[in-house]
Symmetry: C2
Subunit: 143 residues, 2 copies
């Protein structure tokens, strides 16, 4: 979808900064972190401030326009949410490329959880590994 349309769909004002952020994010299906995003935004809109980027990441996530996943070290990763509905990600640790999967493990165990007296509200499911391309480039082929 067009960047401006995305912003309108979220009832957000169209600003050059937001356009830049979404332009960067919409050119790839990979997750990137805020720092990297900031660097790329600067290339197409010099002078943009880091706080603006952070504020907008929060805003865009809260509008459901972006996916955010927390990483082990801290430093969340962001990616534009292209597909509708619930889904999960397969993420290449080499290049960051992602594959969307429809499969959701919750269906398989929701019932069991309720039997345990637990009410699930949300969940996290991500798969990490290497795509063929990145795996070939690694020293240790036996990952």
């Amino acid at each position: 979808m067009e960047v401006d349309k995305i912003l309108k769909s979220g009832q957000l004002k169209i600003t050059p900064q937001r356009q830049a952020i979404l332009r960067v994010l919409s050119t790839s299906d990979s997750f990137i972190n805020a720092q990297m995003l900031f660097t790329r935004v600067l290339e197409i809109l010099p002078g943009t401030n880091f706080s603006t980027v952070y504020r907008n990441l929060d805003t865009l996530v809260s509008k459901g326009i972006l996916c955010r996943i927390p990483r082990d070290n801290g430093g969340d990763l962001y990616k534009i949410r292209r597909e509708e509905g619930h889904h999960h990600h397969v993420i290449c640790k080499g290049c960051g490329a992602t594959i969307i999967i429809e499969f959701c493990p919750m269906e398989a165990i929701r019932e069991k959880l309720e039997g345990l007296g637990f009410t699930p509200t949300d969940h996290r499911f991500e798969i990490y590994g290497y795509c063929d391309k990145c795996r070939e480039g690694r020293q240790d082929k036996n990952i």
Copy 2:
């Protein structure tokens, strides 16, 4: 398992600080963050330094003695790994209590991923929600 035995099993030296850290963690099945852990460690071993706690959390995770999960806001959570083998967690957002589940979604899709030319190396699967007790205490019962 006894705290000292755990340390030995990880080929780690037994220090009062490590004992304190493990004593805190072994008294509960909940995930807690580094700050909270530090506070509790201070109670049983005053003077312990924060950097020591951080260093040991890293060490203990790398030895497989602790589980670490990243949170949305940053600030990872830690918990002693009691059960052997592969498992996942159900985590109460109210009290932090956890339930271990044996079910692993990877089995269901590993084959499919390989068909896509993707080699999975690790994955994350956690379920968040509320246990009966915590749910009752909430304003909004319809979570």
